[in-house]
Structures are given as C-alpha cells and as structure tokens.
C-alpha cells in the first residue's frame, strides 16, 4: 500500500505540477499576448504621433527654406540694383571719367589759348620796345642833321653826303635837306635852364641835395653889359633864378583827392547857409551906430555921378595957405629949355 499511495501521490504531484505548468504557461501566453497587443498599440500610437510631428516639422522647414530662398533672391536683386546705382553714382558724381576727360581737354585748350595770348602780348611788348628804340634813333639822327645843317651841298660844291660818284644822294643828305637849321645859342641856354629846373624838381630819391644856386647857367661871353648903377650880379642872378616856391594853395593840384574832397563840403557850405549875415548885432544897432549910406547911383547933386565922388580937379580956395600959385624961384637954364624942342640931329639923345 505505501508504495501504491506513494506512486499515486507522486502521480498526483506530477499531474499537479503539470497542471500548474500548463496553466502558468497558458496564463503566461495570455499575458504575453496581451503585452504584445499593448506593445503593438503603443507602437501604433507612437508611429502615428511621430509621423504627425515630423510632417508638421517638415512643413515648417519647407516654409523656412522657401522663405530663405525668397530672401536670397531678393538680396541678389537688391544687390544688383545697388550695384547699378552705386556704379552710376560714382561714375557720374564722384569720379566722372568722361567729365574729367572733357575737363582736362578743356584745360589744355584753354592753356593753349592763354599761351598764345601771352605770346602775342610778349611779342607786342617787344615790338613796342623796338619801336621806341627806333624812334629814339630817328630823333637822334634828326637832331644831328639839324646841328650839321652846314654840311648840306650847294649847287657849286657837292656836300659830304652827296658825292658825285654816287648815283643818288645819301639818306643823310635828304635829311639835311629837310631839316631846319638849328641855332646853337638858344638851344644851349634853354638846355642849361631846363637842366637847372629839372634838377630842382626831380626828386625820385633823396640822394642828391637841392642844388641851391651853386649850378647857375653860364651866361654867353659876348653879352653886352647893361649900363647903370648895379647890384652885385650874383645877387641878381640868385634872385632871378630863385626856384618857384608856390603857396600851398597853388602847389596842391586841383585834381588830387584831398583837394577834391575839400571842395565838396566847401561848395555845400557856400550853397547851404541859412544866415547870410552871421553874427548880426542887436536890432537897434544900425540905428545908432551905422550911418545910412545912400547908394552911389542916386547920390550926387545932379543925379547919376561917375563912380568915385572925389573930383580931383575941384578947387577948394578955403584950404589954400597962401594966395598965390606956385612960382619959379630960379631962372631956367637955356640949354635945358631947348631940350626935346629942336629937331636937329645934334639934339638927339644917343
């Protein structure tokens, strides 16, 4: 029996364990299936959720990418516009190449013009100088011709410049023919005097003193000495050649600015005065102190009298001292009586 019961017990235990195993296995399968199901559901949900998220994100990225592309495009276009504008602006206003070129050309044209003008001016000045020199030479020659007038040829004697071997006379000869003879004396005196005057009035520098009267002109040698009681000739000459010292009024030129400036208010003053008699005395002054002067035109016994009421031929016997007139006290000298009354040449005064 024990062995049967042990065998039955062991069978029962084995069957119990088997039943437990089968049941646990089955429950495990059921749970596993349930978990699998849950897992699948979770995966499904996550799948759908993540897809949704990513699609949303994708849309956003697409939008931003599109936006950026648009921005880039706009940037590029803006750069293009700015590029064109800046190029235009710089080329037109800041560094205008063609305007600069034109300007430089204009400058060179202007320079050429200025140079030509200056050249002309310089040439003109040179010509003027030459003309002046020529004129001076001409004047010299004419003066020489006038001085050497005696060298003119006569009909009998040919002059120096009119040699018989020449075909036509020398130009000097022609000048001599044209010129008026020069008298030396007057020329010298005039020159001498003008030198003195020139010296005294020419003051470009103060280096030369006023040549007072130390440099007098020499008088001609054969001058006839005038007759009579005389002062010292040096004194006379000094007085005669005394330089002009004009009064201030004369020395100032009438056209100089200070004189003109003074003239205007003077004229205005002359024009504008309110009172003609300034500083009039009191009103009854004229009755007491001033005598009435009748006008000359109406005064005089017989109406209009000549100007000057004194008549020199009037005789005032009351003023005479003596009764008699002047009488001669000495007999006259006969010779002197004949003076100027005879007509003979002997009586004439030499």
């Amino acid at each position: 029996y024990f062995y049967i019961f042990r065998a039955i017990d062991e069978d029962r235990k084995i069957k119990y364990k088997a039943a437990v195993k089968i049941q646990s296995w089955f429950r495990g399968c059921r749970v596993r299936a349930y978990l699998r199901h849950l897992n699948k559901m979770a995966i499904l949900m996550q799948k759908w959720w993540r897809g949704y998220l990513r699609r949303k994100y994708f849309r956003e990225t697409v939008e931003t990418a599109y936006f950026i592309k648009k921005l880039n495009f706009y940037n590029e276009m803006a750069v293009r516009i700015q590029k064109m504008w800046r190029g235009y602006y710089v080329r037109k206003y800041i560094h205008n190449f063609y305007a600069l070129k034109k300007y430089l050309k204009a400058i060179s044209v202007n320079n050429a013009f200025v140079r030509s003008e200056l050249q002309e001016y310089a040439e003109m000045k040179e010509k003027e100088d030459k003309m002046k020199d020529l004129e001076k030479e001409e004047k010299e020659k004419k003066y020489q011709a006038r001085k050497m007038h005696y060298l003119l040829s006569t009909t009998q004697i040919p002059g120096i410049y009119n040699s018989p071997f020449r075909k036509s006379p020398d130009p000097m000869e022609l000048l001599l023919r044209k010129s008026k003879p020069l008298t030396h004396r007057k020329q010298q005196v005039k020159e001498g005097k003008s030198l003195v005057v020139y010296e005294l009035y020419d003051w470009p520098t103060c280096k030369e003193p006023p040549a007072f009267v130390t440099a007098l002109p020499l008088l001609p040698i054969d001058r006839q000495k005038p007759q009579g009681p005389f002062r010292d000739p040096a004194e006379v000459l000094w007085q005669r050649y005394k330089p002009l010292e004009p009064t201030l009024r004369v020395a100032e030129s009438r056209n100089s600015p200070p004189a003109k400036a003074r003239e205007r208010p003077q004229r205005e003053e002359w024009r504008n005065p309110i009172h003609d008699n300034e500083f009039l005395p009191f009103s009854s002054y004229h009755r007491i102190y001033e005598k009435h002067e009748t006008s000359l035109r109406r005064s005089g016994k017989y109406g209009q009298e000549a100007y000057g009421t004194k008549h020199f031929r009037d005789v005032y016997p009351k003023k005479w001292i003596a009764d008699k007139d002047f009488e001669t006290l000495f007999p006259s000298i006969v010779l002197f009586d004949k003076f100027g009354k005879t007509y003979s040449s002997t009586g004439q005064i030499v």
Binding site: N110, N111, V114, W203, P210, E252
Partner: protein, 453 residues
C-alpha cells in the same frame, strides 16, 4: 667817427635853414653807410632835435629828415625801435599829409623801413594811422611815390593776418589791382609783392584778392621782361593757390598753370622757385588738379629743374612738387615715371647719403617723393633700372610693387626674367619674416621652380 656827429649836432639848430638841411643830409648819409654810425647818431640824441621842429620846416628839410630816419632805421630792429620811441611816427604822419610828393615819398620810405623788421614795429606804424595815408599816396600820379607806398604796404602786411586785414580795410586791394597793368617794372614788382603778402595769410584774404579781378592781368605780368616782376607774379599765384582746392581750381581754370609753366621754362635760378612751389601746391590739392597739371605739360620743366639747377632748395622744391603730382593714383605715378625722373631722384638721394655730414633738404625731399611715387607706381619698365641701384629701404618698395603686379601680368613676368630682374631679386638677402622676404616669396611663386634656381 671822430666826433663828427657831435660836431654836426649843434648845426642842426642853426638859424639858417640851408645849414640845417645840409647837416641833416650829412647825418643821413653817415647813418646810411654804417651800423655803428647809425647807433652813434641815435645815442647822441639827434633824432628828437631833428623831429621837434619838423612841422614848420620847408619841404627840403622834411625830405632830408625822412632820409635820416630811414637811414637809421634800416639797419636793425633796435634802431628802428629807438626811432619810434623818439616820436618819429607822428612827424612822419605829418610828412605824409604834406603836399609835395617828394616829402611823401621820403616819409613812406622811412615807414617802410621801420615796419620791415618785425610785427610790433609794423603794429606801431599802423597804430599811428599810416595806412589810409599810404593808400592815398598810391593813388597819386607820381610813379616813384606809388612804388614806395606799395612797398611800404607790402612790408606792413607781411607780418600777420591782422595787419593785412587793416591794410585791406583801407581799400588798398582795389587800388593795387588797378596798378598791375602799369608799364613801369619796379612798380609792378612792388604791387605784386604787396598783393602776395596780403593773400598769403588766410583763405578770406586770398579770396578778397582774387575778387579784385586780378586774374587775366597777372598772367600778362608773367610774360614781362623783368625777372623780379615774373617772380613776384608767380609768388602771388602761389599764395592764392595754396589755401584751398577751390582756389587752385580757379587758378587752373583761368589758365594760370600754363602761364606758370611757361614762366618756369623761361627763367633760370631762384626765380623759378615760386613757380615750382605753385605747381606742387596745385597738384597736392586733389588728383583732378594733379591730372590737370600733368595735362598742361607740367612734368618736363620740373624734370629739367631737377637736373639742371645747382641750388639745394630748388632741387628740393622740384622733388617735392614731383612727389605731390605722382602720389595720387597709379596713372599719375605712371606719368611721372615715364618722364624718366625716378633715376635722377634716386641719384640725388644717394649723393647726399654718401656725404653724411650735410643733411641736405634735397635728399630728404627726394626720398619722400620717391617713396610716395613708388607706392603707387605700376609702370614696370621705369622701376627696373632702379632695382639695380637702390638702397634697401627704397628697394623694399620697389620689390613690393613688383610683387603686386607680377602675379597678374604674364608679359611683365617674361620681361622681368629677360631683363635680369629675377636674378637681381635672388641676390637680395632679406631677413626671413620681414616684408621684403614676403615680397620676394610672392615673386618667386609666380615662376616655376627651375627658373628660380
């Protein structure tokens, strides 16, 4: 010296006017010759005696008194100060108001010599009220008086802008400008110098001078036969052009540059200096004006000046002017380089470097000009000869220019090799890491390895 002055002193107070006058003349001549005599005259207290009776004297005396004052004050500022302290200025004003032109001339000459020395003396002269009287003197018909009055105005206005402004306020500019066409050469000299002294101080004064319509007339002065008239005319143009670009533009537009260039061509010596400086100032203002100077054929005369002239400051001025022309862009530098002037400048620089004792202005300016031109110069044929002779500091710039141009231009590269430039570059030793080494490396990189070795 042997007591002459003391002997003459009592004669000044003599009764007879001609004695007084001859004494004054003698004193004037003594003081004129020698500084010591002038000082003796001042110390002996003669000046107050001379001036005290001046208003009543006749015009010869006034003239000789002015001569004495002039002779004394011309030697030094201290003597002029002594003259002013004696109260000479009031007397000189009285002389200036006199009617005789000779007296006015003497007085204004004396004032000119006083005002010449320094600013305080000029201020004293102006304070005494000389300027309106001088302007009246300028309008007088006598040419000598005009000359002296113009030179006095020039001496007064040269010291400071305020003095120049005072002269301008007396309407001097209009009268001076009217006298420019006058045919007398010495008068023109003085007038032009007066205007240039006025214009040099500030832009406003220069503009005032320009508004007086000097411009086409001044250019005719540049063709005058007298050298100093030309010099003063060009100085006037220089003083006007140096202030602002607008004024330089004005000068260029009126053809002033052409006239100045012709003037430089026709003169020799120091007379050229203001002309060179004018070109330098005009070119320095802007690159357009610099181009205008180049177009007016300004570079050849400058080169000629650089080569021919012996004086240091003229060469320095010419080098400076060329530097100003060439420093703006590559185009300008090319024009300068084409004129073949860079070797000359290098020679000037090298010459003075060998004799180190003299620090000549010419070399300083030549170096600066070279540097500025080389920094912009891309004209390689002109740079080649310089490669062989230049000292290291100049060489650095030359190599720098080569290294800028060679990488881009193949024909230039070929030329560089054939003319032996590459060989020379290899011979140069430079510290590694310095700028020079970098330039050399850039050049070497343009060529394949075999040629470099």
């Amino acid at each position: 010296n042997s007591g002459v002055v003391c002997l003459l002193r009592p004669l000044l107070l003599d009764v007879i006017p001609s004695i007084r006058q001859t004494t004054a003349l003698a004193l004037g001549r003594l003081a004129d010759c020698d500084v010591d005599l002038a000082e003796t005259v001042v110390k002996a207290g003669i000046l107050p005696q001379l001036i005290c009776s001046l208003p009543e004297e006749n015009r010869y005396y006034k003239k000789t008194a002015a001569f004495v004052l002039r002779a004394v004050s011309k030697h030094s500022p201290q003597l002029a100060q002594a003259v002013v302290q004696c109260g000479a200025l009031e007397m000189l004003m009285i002389c200036l108001e006199d009617f005789d032109p000779g007296v006015k001339e003497g007085a204004s000459w004396a004032l000119g010599y006083i005002a010449r020395h320094n600013r305080e003396l000029s201020q004293a002269v102006v304070d005494a009220g000389a300027v309106p009287l001088l302007v009246l003197c300028i309008q007088e018909p006598e040419i000598a008086l005009k000359r002296i009055a113009a030179s006095t105005l020039s001496d007064i206005s040269k010291h400071s802008p305020e003095l120049a402004q005072t002269v301008v306020d007396a309407q001097a500019i209009a009268h001076l400008a009217q006298m420019i066409p006058n045919p007398d050469a010495k008068l023109k000299r003085q007038v032009l110098s007066a205007l240039s002294q006025i214009a040099k101080h500030s832009v406003d004064l220069a503009e005032l001078v320009v508004e007086a319509e000097i411009f086409p007339v001044v250019l005719t002065c540049l063709k005058d036969s007298d050298e100093y008239v030309k010099k003063n005319g060009v100085t006037l143009i220089r003083e006007i052009a140096k202030h602002t670009p607008e004024l330089s533009q004005l000068v260029v537009n009126l053809g002033g540059v052409a006239a100045v260039i012709d003037c430089i061509d026709s003169c020799r010596g120091t007379v050229r200096l203001p002309g060179i400086m004018t070109l330098g100032y005009v070119a320095a203002q802007s690159e357009d004006l610099s181009m205008a100077v180049i177009v007016s054929k300004g570079i050849p005369p400058l080169c000629v000046c650089l080569i021919e002239e012996h004086e240091d400051h003229i060469k320095a001025a010419a080098a400076w002017a060329l530097g100003q022309i060439g420093r703006h862009t590559a185009e300008h530098a090319r024009h300068v380089a084409v004129a073949n002037v860079l070797p000359t400048m290098l020679d000037i620089y090298m010459d003075s470097r060998s004799s180190d004792d003299l620090k000549m202005k010419a070399s300083i300016f030549a170096k600066k000009a070279l540097k500025t031109i080389l920094q912009k110069c891309t004209y390689l044929p002109a740079l080649e000869p310089l490669l062989h002779e230049a000292p290291p500091n100049i060489l650095k710039h030359i190599i720098g220019q080569f290294s800028k141009v060679l990488p881009h231009d193949s024909k230039a590269r070929r030329l560089f090799v054939t003319t032996g430039g590459l060989k020379k570059v290899q011979e140069i030793k430079a510290e590694p890491g310095s700028l020079l080494q970098e330039y050399i490396n850039t050049i070497n990189n343009c060529y394949p390895e075999e040629i470099v070795r």
